[in-house]
């Protein structure tokens, strides 16, 4: 008995003292997937970004996700020189964690490295595809960057490009060196990554001294780690586990869910059928049930904080009678409305995706459409999502979730709506022109041009929009930190304070 009591006491002590070890100014962060690399030019992937972006590697500019404005980071200012050239004035007195000074040559090398065909960097492929970048070093603190074709939003694009020292080899590094306030001190593959605070950071020294990143794939376990005292921040928990208002925060995650209709195949090529499908969906019924109550109904591709997103398109009303009438009308006009339409979903795309699609299938069936649900793993799904569509001659729609966290619709609209867009289910000359105009537009005209493009896509009933989604984070009560829309792609340790 005595022995048992001692054992119990010991175990309790151990459990109680566990959080105490991590006390003071160290934090533990539990991510949902292991990092495959720590390469800065891959930092657009959410988990790599959460470790590296602005913690280890910084960017020239930084997007303020609250108001969509652009803030200086490694560049103090920038100006449009015309003809697609932008001049960046770099911050003086900045050094890399290896001690070398930051200058224009580092920027030049970082750009070359990111867009190099030998490396396949995600940042290069995602943000700098289809353009040629040339750099001219004016002096150590000034650099001219020219893009062909000209990019009115080039400074915004540079909020994604991570800066590495010019000595970084042209292959993926396992020792990322950056100008950020933290330095990678340990990487135990499969187990953890540890960042330590640097003393010679150019900016204000952050409060957090050490951050340990752990990887847990299981949602329930990740959520349990905060109450068990094993983690301080879990950036992503399942909505079903977000039950404690003191620790669990919902944040808009810049993701939009929608069904992409392939309007080149009958019956989806008929605009009445596409409208009917939009009217058949009872979007309100999902909120607070399968989709978090904090999500908002979507009318277009970009999140509500993006440029031109204030356009008022109106959520399609839930009107099954009108939908049936439209289908009847189309049928009378010879449209093959009984053709089976495949609905392709991707497993694990977002929480409850299978259930949401099962419910949608039921809603389509209620208005008399023949929809067959097919849930597939990601590799198969990609073949349906991008051209050439894997469904071949059969009419299909693909359930997808699009992330635009950069605040400009250019990252969405061309790919999703232009005739040549890889994931575009529609081809309309007028829409193509509107997108091209908006891409080239600057200033206030840009927002206006995007509104016109959104309107046109809406008038064509090109997609079935569902929700602007929210994510959930769990944050230990000892921290003073509130997740924001940026939490989906980065997690700046310098923004974490203690209570």
């Amino acid at each position: 008995m005595n022995c048992r009591a001692t054992l119990l006491g010991g175990a309790t002590l151990l459990a109680l003292s566990a959080p105490a070890f991590a006390a003071d100014t160290d934090v533990i962060i539990a991510l949902n997937e292991e990092l495959e690399t720590v390469e800065p030019c891959m930092a657009s992937q959410s988990n790599i970004g959460r470790v590296i972006l602005q913690n280890i590697s910084e960017t020239l500019t930084e997007l303020n996700t609250e108001d969509g404005s652009l803030m200086p980071r490694l560049a103090e200012s920038w100006e449009d020189m015309g003809n697609g050239t932008w001049r960046f004035h770099l911050r003086p007195g900045v050094s890399f964690s290896d001690g070398s000074a930051f200058d224009a040559a580092d920027v030049k090398h970082s750009i070359e490295r990111t867009v190099s065909p030998d490396l396949t960097c995600e940042i290069g492929a995602k943000f700098f595809g289809g353009m040629t970048l040339t750099t001219a070093v004016v002096d150590d603190a000034t650099i001219d960057i020219t893009s062909d074709p000209a990019q009115p939003i080039l400074p915004l694009l540079f909020s994604t490009l991570t800066i590495v020292p010019s000595e970084t080899p042209m292959e993926f590094t396992r020792q990322p060196i950056g100008t950020g306030p933290y330095v990678l001190s340990e990487w135990n593959a499969g187990q953890n990554i540890i960042l330590d605070r640097r003393d010679d950071y150019w900016g204000e020294a952050p409060v957090v001294t050490k951050a340990t990143y752990l990887f847990r794939t299981d949602d329930a376990v990740r959520a349990a780690m905060v109450p068990a005292g094993e983690a301080d921040i879990v950036p992503l928990i399942n909505q079903n586990d977000a039950t404690n208002p003191a620790t669990d925060f919902a944040y808009p995650n810049s993701e939009t869910t929608y069904l992409r209709l392939d309007s080149s195949k009958a019956p989806l090529n008929d605009i009445r059928i596409r409208e009917a499908m939009n009217l058949a969906v009872d979007r309100e019924a999902f909120l607070g049930t399968l989709v978090p109550a904090d999500a908002t109904l979507a009318t277009h591709m970009t999140p509500p904080t993006a440029l031109g997103a204030d356009v008022d398109l109106g959520v399609p009303p839930y009107d099954p009678d009108r939908a049936r009438a439209l289908i009847e009308e189309a049928k009378a006009a010879g449209v093959p409305v009984d053709t089976e339409i495949t609905l392709i979903g991707r497993l694990g795309n977002y929480p409850n995706v299978t259930e949401v699609l099962e419910a949608l299938q039921q809603m389509f069936a209620d208005v008399g459409l023949n929809v067959k649900l097919e849930m597939v793993e990601v590799a198969e799904w990609v073949e349906h999502y991008s051209k050439p569509f894997a469904a071949g001659d059969k009419p299909a729609m693909v359930s997808a979730m699009h992330d635009n966290n950069r605040g400009d619709p250019v990252f969405s609209m061309y790919f999703k709506y232009a005739c040549d867009g890889l994931q575009s289910g529609i081809c309309d000359e007028e829409l193509d022109k509107l997108i091209a105009d908006a891409t080239a537009a600057t200033g206030d005209a840009r927002a206006e041009a995007w509104r016109a493009a959104f309107q046109k896509a809406h008038d064509l009933w090109a997609d079935i929009f569902l929700f602007h989604m929210v994510g959930f984070s769990r944050v230990s009560e000892r921290l003073d930190f509130k997740p924001t829309i940026a939490t989906n792609s980065e997690l700046q340790l310098s923004q974490i304070k203690f209570k």
Partner: protein, 307 residues
């Protein structure tokens, strides 16, 4: 079914059936196991036909309804699932696919595996060396990769799932049968029969097979649950049966995110898997005793004692 057999059977067989029934009654657990399996079988055959409409009727606003609440109707007694569909009806309808997959995969694997094992164990030629290596290869081929390959190129239909699961389960039957045969063929009575010139077929079917069957059956009954759960993890990884089809395994994996908030979603189908396995095993243990002349007395005593 029972009625028909009884009335049509001649007097002698009828008393034989009675004897079996009383032997079954002597082992109460085995009796209830048999009854449970009969119910599952009935659900599997009739369920999809009777209850399909009820089982697919969604009600988003009544999702995850708690169990044991009769106000929503009898079908909701086990609660509602994540789309508000009655769990009881879904369990019954899912029994069909579940049984088809589990029974199909186990029997196919058992048949192929044991046959190959018999050949490998009995022959002393090249086959004795080649077939076990085949088992090595299958054992080392990750079942998940096999599933991805087969289901990527074919549809994730019931038939293909059976194929995948059967192939992955072949080695255990093959290797067990071979091990048993290696031992049994050296026993006195088999050696005697061989010396006396009995044909190979007779030796295998009359002497060897009866000796190894009990072990094979024990593994097969346990494999039932293994296959049902393997099917569940395939669905979870997105390479198994997918909605709107349903199986118990799929229900278990779909209920997983709700484990801490609505336990009943994955508890009932999990319980169905456990009970089915338990029943099959109790019944096969009973059968082993009842079929073995040297063990049968245990049941006969029981039958007499309980009248």
């Amino acid at each position: 079914m029972t009625q028909a057999t009884e009335s049509a059977a001649p007097e002698k067989e009828r008393s034989g059936f009675r004897t079996w029934l009383s032997l079954l009654w002597a082992d109460k657990l085995a009796f209830f196991a048999a009854v449970f399996l009969l119910i599952v079988l009935l659900c599997a055959i009739l369920g999809p036909w009777l209850l399909d409409g009820v089982a697919t009727k969604q009600n988003l606003r009544g999702r995850n309804a708690p169990p044991f609440d009769l106000s929503r109707g009898f079908m909701m007694i086990l609660g509602g699932d994540q789309l508000g569909r009655p769990l009881l009806a879904r369990l019954i309808v899912a029994a069909g696919n579940t049984m088809a997959v589990a029974a199909g995969a186990v029997m196919l694997a058992m048949l192929i595996g044991s046959t190959l094992g018999l050949i490998a164990g009995y022959s002393r030629g090249r086959m004795a060396e080649l077939i076990p290596r085949l088992a090595d290869v299958i054992m080392s081929f990750p079942s998940l990769l096999l599933a991805v390959i087969v289901l990527y190129m074919l549809d994730p239909s019931v038939g293909n799932i059976i194929l995948v699961l059967a192939i992955t389960r072949i080695p255990v039957y093959l290797r067990t049968t071979r091990a048993e045969v290696l031992e049994v063929r050296e026993r006195m009575f088999v050696q005697a029969a061989t010396v006396m010139g009995a044909p190979t077929r007779r030796i295998i079917f009359r002497h060897i097979l009866p000796m190894i069957l009990p072990t094979i059956l024990t593994i097969a009954t346990l494999d039932f649950s293994f296959v049902m759960l393997a099917e569940s993890s395939l669905s979870f990884l997105g390479i198994g049966i997918q909605p709107p089809e349903i199986t118990w395994g799929l229900m278990v994996s779909q209920g997983r995110p709700y484990l801490t908030s609505a336990w009943w979603l994955s508890f009932w189908p999990g319980l169905a898997i456990i009970l089915t396995t338990l029943s099959l095993n109790l019944l096969s243990n009973w059968m082993r005793v009842a079929l073995d002349p040297t063990q049968r007395w245990r049941l006969e005593i029981g039958a007499r004692k309980h009248g």
